[in-house]
Amino acid sequence: MKVVPSRSSEWVRPVTSQKPASAIIEIDRVSQVFQTSARKDHLALSDISLTIEEGAFVSILGPSGCGKSTLLYIVGGFVSPTGGAAKMKGQTITGPGPDRGPVFQEFALFPWKTALGNVMYGPRQQGVRTTEAEAQSRALIEMVGLKGYENFYPKELSGGMKQRVALARTLAYHPEVLLMDEPFGALDAHTRTRLQNDLLNIWERDRKTVLFVTHSVDEAVFLSDKVVMMSKSPGRIRQVIDIDLPRPRRRNELLLDPRYQKYVVDIERMFDEVDETGSPS
């Protein structure tokens, strides 16, 4: 396991990479201050600097309240950072856009549209003709495993199915980066593991860049190439860990793999260290 010291804004490139990966997202000294109702200022994020390479599956891992979702929203352009800037391919991010597609924990599906209607939203917005958009969307719905459910409304779908629709909806407008905010947090354990597997299968096809927020250590290790560990509030980057496990990853194999186990144990220990000594410096 390679562990990179916490003040990293540069990566040690894994020896195993085939082609030189280019940075697609740069987060440069981003900080975020929120005004709470008591007129006190709450420092959610402090001096975050991070580079995400194209095609990398990167997890942002941290305890509740450490600002990891806020960081994701800043990259998504939904929130403007109070300090520093995030850039996508060299351009400062000023707002949301179809190049960075979100998938939220609450699914956020449009309740007045069917599954098909939801997935078609993005392409239609981009001007794709209805028949073409419908065909594309049907294919996507099939890809996420929901063939036959196109005309169901979100209220008629289970949590796992809703999240699949949400994923299909985001993929439909072909974002370069997927921003996933604890997408499986609202699901039961069994559904979660199934969706993790399915996500990896889908991701393998075109290897988009993924920023994945989670508080689950084994989820982060299972899915990612890199794990960015964040400290408790105010959120700072503690460590960035390369996950050097082969792909494609199968859960039943990986669970028995001692390398996987070591990653999980080590990262969990790092979390415990934080709790004992309070906020890290």
Binding site: G76, P96, P98, Y173
Partner: protein
């Protein structure tokens, strides 16, 4: 056997109405109420049917309905647009909010004399009164629905490439629909009530006018007829709105 054909809900819903009519008949038959003051239900309903086929009565119904629909429609258009505008734009909100706070508790019917002075005794004054009364519930529930739209829905639409001004139509309006329709329902009931009352106070035609005329000539039966008519109209319109609501909100989970 027949319960297989009549859904049990309809049956239960009708039972108390039947009960009321039975009590009504009982009061008359057993002499608790003189027929001059409380005509028996059979008489009233036959008179109602008799009236419904006459052209004059139909014209009265038409007059009432025209004012009802016109006033309600104006209230919906104004209420929904102002409600959404106020929810979307803080400047508009700052102007609209205090005005609504001042005007909402005011009994708009007190304005009726002023409306009569300005718009005369015909359709105009009544339509305006209906619109004024129905406006506020619709505006407020639209505002509520529009301002409590789930943030992530808006974000999802923005990420998919929706420009800001389109978000109002493509996300806020549909998402606020449950609230809007609830407000419309209240507004519709208010419209029925207000149009009837306005016609009772001063009018030359309409169902309310029919009632007042009958009162002046002490014709009890003819007083019940317009009353029952407006109640039936209200129920029918409410039912139609309910059906529309079911259709528009078919995707929404029951709140």
């Amino acid at each position: 056997m027949t319960s297989r054909f009549i859904p049990i809900n309809v049956f239960l819903g009708l039972a108390p109405i039947v009960l009321v009519i039975a009590v009504w008949q009982g009061l008359v038959s057993f002499g608790f109420a003189p027929a001059v003051l409380l005509p028996p239900p059979g008489y009233v309903f036959s008179r109602l049917l008799q009236q419904l086929v006459t052209w004059t009565f139909q014209q009265e119904i038409a007059a009432t309905l025209i004012r009802l629909f016109a006033g309600f429609a104006i209230a919906v258009v104004l209420g929904v647009s102002i409600g959404i505008a106020a929810a979307a734009n803080p400047a508009i909100n700052a102007v609209v909010r205090p005005i609504v706070r001042v005007l909402a508790p005011l009994p708009k019917v007190a304005l009726y004399p002023a409306l009569l002075l300005l718009l005369g005794f015909g359709h105009g004054s009544k339509i305006t009164l209906v619109a004024a009364d129905a406006l506020f519930p619709i505006l407020l529930s639209t505002y509520y629905g529009a301002s409590t739209v789930e943030q992530k829905l808006v974000w999802s639409a923005m990420a998919a490439g929706t420009p800001r001004y389109e978000i109002l139509f493509k996300v806020v309006l549909p998402a606020a629909m449950p609230s809007i329709l609830t407000g419309c329902r209240i507004g519709l009931v208010i419209s029925c009530i207000v149009v009837f009352l306005a016609e009772m106070i001063t009018s030359t035609d309409g169902l309310g006018h029919v009632l007042v005329t009958a009162a002046r000539t002490f014709q009890a039966v003819d007083m019940f007829v317009p009353l029952i008519t407006i109640s039936l109209l209200g129920l029918i319109l409410n039912g139609l709105l309910g059906a529309l609501r079911s259709y528009l909100l078919r995707g929404f989970p029951e709140a």
